[in-house]
Symmetry: C2
Subunit: 191 residues, 2 copies
DNA sequence: AGCATATATATGAAAACTCATATAAGGAGG
DNA sequence: CCTCCTTATATGAGTTTTCATATATATGCT
């Protein structure tokens, strides 16, 4: 899995806690990697066990102690090795597309919400892409270089293009569904 | 998970064996749902246990007996209920994008293969989309209606648009990388 | 006063997925 | 002749992911 490597990628910039990393994920790479909290903590444990990071416990009196993960040389090597290894072949698992595939079973009225939700989802994604560059600029000042930011932006570009394609597609289907342009299988249906 | 429902979707057309379904998945919905063989058999078991399908054993002498799964009324209800339920929010997990995000760590030469592989992948996907309509036409004759085929094609359309966007994106990055248009972080680098 | 939110970590249990392997026989191609 | 592919089902073992829940305190909002 590459959650390990995504975490390593951030730890390579700076030591972070699990809590920090959850926030970072939600703000920056959510569009291509959504990690849940428990998974982050567990994976951080594995990273430490593998010797890719060392834990610095920062004692706090009023809150639970923070566990800062510092990447090790072995961790940096692992990250770089992964980055230069063959790109894993994605196995897509898209439930929404399964729904579309079998939507012919439904009436147009029943199928509509599927595509309306797709429109809403794509619009939401696009809205996030509007605010993302500011987040990147912020991180760039903190830890990143111009070069890093270039590649961060590349992921945004593709995400945006994809979301735009999805939006146009879903809007087209909504239009077709509401204007009854779709075959209904009643033999002798309006041509 | 919606492998259950994807399987149910096909069983709704016709009774199939696990072996059949594996072949069908690989030929028709692979672009948005890649299921592996062992997972299909296990899930089929769950479907039968849930009462969504009944098993007809077709005895064969020279080969293992076939187990044909016939969808039940309960299975049809479940399928339709799922199809009209809220679209699940996708949690994207794209390892290739994680690689791109952290590719700034690599030199241009080291980063190149990442995008070359993306180009090759997108070209491969596009080639599959070229042959897919023929597969759909074939299935349509067997089991599908014009309406069903309409929705099948919708998934292809979005898949193709997405693959095209990916290809253009990856080709652009390859061009930028090979012409050294990318920031290098050597302070005082060529402006 | 009460309630939600932010800070911070962690586990139990289950579901889902992957990878390798097993069995068994016929047919195709080199 | 031998190897690979197709037909057909199945399990063991492990990894990854999800979902719910637990603990503890401070702050801000209504």
């Amino acid at each position: 899995m590459s959650l390990k490597h995504a975490l390593l990628g951030f730890l390579n910039y700076h030591p972070y806690t699990g809590y920090d990393l959850k926030a970072i994920f939600d703000r920056s790479v959510q569009h291509f990697w959504a990690a849940d909290q428990s998974q982050i903590y567990r994976t951080l444990g594995q990273i430490a066990e593998a010797g890719w990071a060392e834990i610095e416990v920062v004692t706090q009196t009023e809150r639970p102690d923070r566990k800062l993960y510092h990447i090790t040389e072995a961790g940096r090597r692992e990250l770089k090795a992964w980055l230069t290894s063959p790109v894993p072949v994605e196995r897509p698992h898209s439930a929404p597309m399964v729904m579309v595939f079998f939507a012919g079973l439904l009436s147009n009225e029943e199928a509509l919400p599927l595509f309306e939700q797709a429109v809403a989802y794509a619009e939401g994604a696009l809205a996030q892409y509007d605010t993302a560059p500011a987040v990147i600029a912020e991180y760039q000042q903190e830890i990143g270089s111009e070069r890093e930011a270039y590649f961060w932006n590349l992921t945004l570009e593709l995400g945006r293009k994809t979301a735009e394609a999805q939006l146009a597609w879903a809007q087209g289907v909504v239009a077709a569904l509401t204007s009854d342009e779709i075959p209904t299988d009643q033999e002798g249906a309006a041509p």
